[in-house]
Symmetry: C3
Subunit: 214 residues, 3 copies
């Protein structure tokens, strides 16, 4: 079993934090929030998944709260969004693309970080998937939206695929930077394909009752 | 003070995960989510409380992310719901019954797991209660509903009662499998009674202002 | 670098827990919740930030679940609210004032607790800020409201200021009880000033699209 490269983990983390921060900033802009709301939501979306990962594997305090490079990446993502956000009509699509890129970087990076912390392979796959979907879930819940991961196109599945790929590669001695990057790109591609095709995964019943819960 | 049996903890965990996963799946079906949404919400509802418990007592990575039996129970709960869910009109009642069963299994199992991890009795009672209410809270928040635990019938109280019962039993040397199972059934019974009677716990004021927060 | 006084940390925690519990209870009253809902929301708002802090710095089980004084403060806050809440028309303003007081106590107390746990200064600033904003975020999300911290007046900034002040004071050897209390009062004052003046922080665009997320 090959131990993941620390620089590779950091690079994937930086990419994931930045693109998820952009997505959080855009969601904040669309919700009419001001500069501080944009920065907070960028921080939550960018750093939330990694903080969740680190809490789950016992790596506290989480890197997302102690590594100034990650904090800077999240802050930059928020600022860039605030200054240069596109028209509202294009935001929804852009959020999805950025979200897909973050899904790729975090599902692979999260699984590698979990492996490096010594957790079992199955746990690394789950933790990697949660790293990828955690920030976006927090982002959506905070603005009162049902998280992307519960909606109808494939979302958790590509993340699960990316995490599983690098865990299997590591266990079988095939892990390399090229494999990790390829896995992240695969996640991005599958997710974007899912958005484009909107395959209408089987659904049990249409919603007829707006009241939800209990 | 008697140390809780590991097999008993696992049995309570499996029951709790499965019934909460069913409840999560049903809430997802009612919200019109597709297969993946159903599986994700089943996983969140089934495993959320136990993951919260393990994070709070420092048992990381949490069993809910590393024990394949728990992951399987959650996945099965989601699949069963998706394939065999009842008509929408009956879902609300069924969610409450399953939720009550999970409340019983998790309030007792959570307290026993916390005790086994060496926390103080008071902490075990609180952690057990949070184990029981955590998954359902996450489930409801994710679909945008006010969690069951904040609504008007007794919800947290039966869970608190179940956790306190086994902690007291353990401290006084009366803990046994029979006592633990009886405590879980007691929670279930009290909760169902509360739902059936709808005792209208004292309420300060009716809602007159739809805007909530700050 | 001066190590923070344990009694000072406890005092700030008790004040923060109590005032945030009052705020949680008031939000529950306004949402029409009953006695148990009021107590749960008071507990979540009062203890949530500190529990988050302790999980992030690895101090588990969190003090908020094991120290009976903190649990008592939260319970008292809930009871006081339930018995003696004011008319609904005055609740919104009162929530903000209590929230501001909690922000001051927790941003300072959270940073001191994090420093005492041995985390790096930057991390202590972030953890202190999260301690201050965490309970209110949970409170608002549970009743389906967009958290205060994402709205338009200065909210996270005063908390960040309070945390940074005591961390810098500790690093430069100027930390004392007087400095800590002054920092907490400063946070309170800045936050209330922000509410009063409503400075309309720069906003990218007005909301035109009610659909948020994804």
């Amino acid at each position: 079993m090959l131990v993941p490269d620390v620089r590779l983990q950091l690079a994937l983390d930086l990419v994931g934090v930045f693109v998820f921060a952009l997505s959080g900033g855009l969601v904040a802009v669309r919700a009419g929030l001001d500069l501080f709301g944009v920065l907070v939501l960028a921080g939550v979306a960018g750093l939330g998944g990694g903080v969740l990962r680190d809490v789950l594997i016992g790596a506290v305090p989480p890197a997302g709260l102690s590594d100034w490079r990650l904090l800077l990446a999240a802050g930059l993502g928020g600022l860039v969004t605030f200054v240069a956000h596109p028209g509202l009509s294009r935001i929804s699509g852009l959020v999805r693309v950025l979200d897909a890129a973050g899904l790729g970087a975090f599902s692979v990076g999260g699984a590698l970080t979990a492996l490096a912390a010594g957790v079992a392979p199955l746990t690394a796959v789950i933790v990697g998937t949660l790293t990828a979907i955690g920030g976006g879930m927090l982002r959506d819940v905070l603005v009162g939206a049902v998280p992307e991961v519960l909606r109808r196109e494939l979302y958790a599945v590509p993340a699960l695929l990316g995490s599983a790929t690098v865990v299997v590669a590591s266990r079988t001695g095939h892990l390399s930077t090229a494999v990790a990057v390829a896995a992240a790109v695969l996640v991005l591609a599958v997710r974007l394909l899912a958005v484009a095709l909107d395959p209408n995964a089987p659904r049990a019943l249409r919603r007829v009752d707006p009241e939800v819960g209990g």
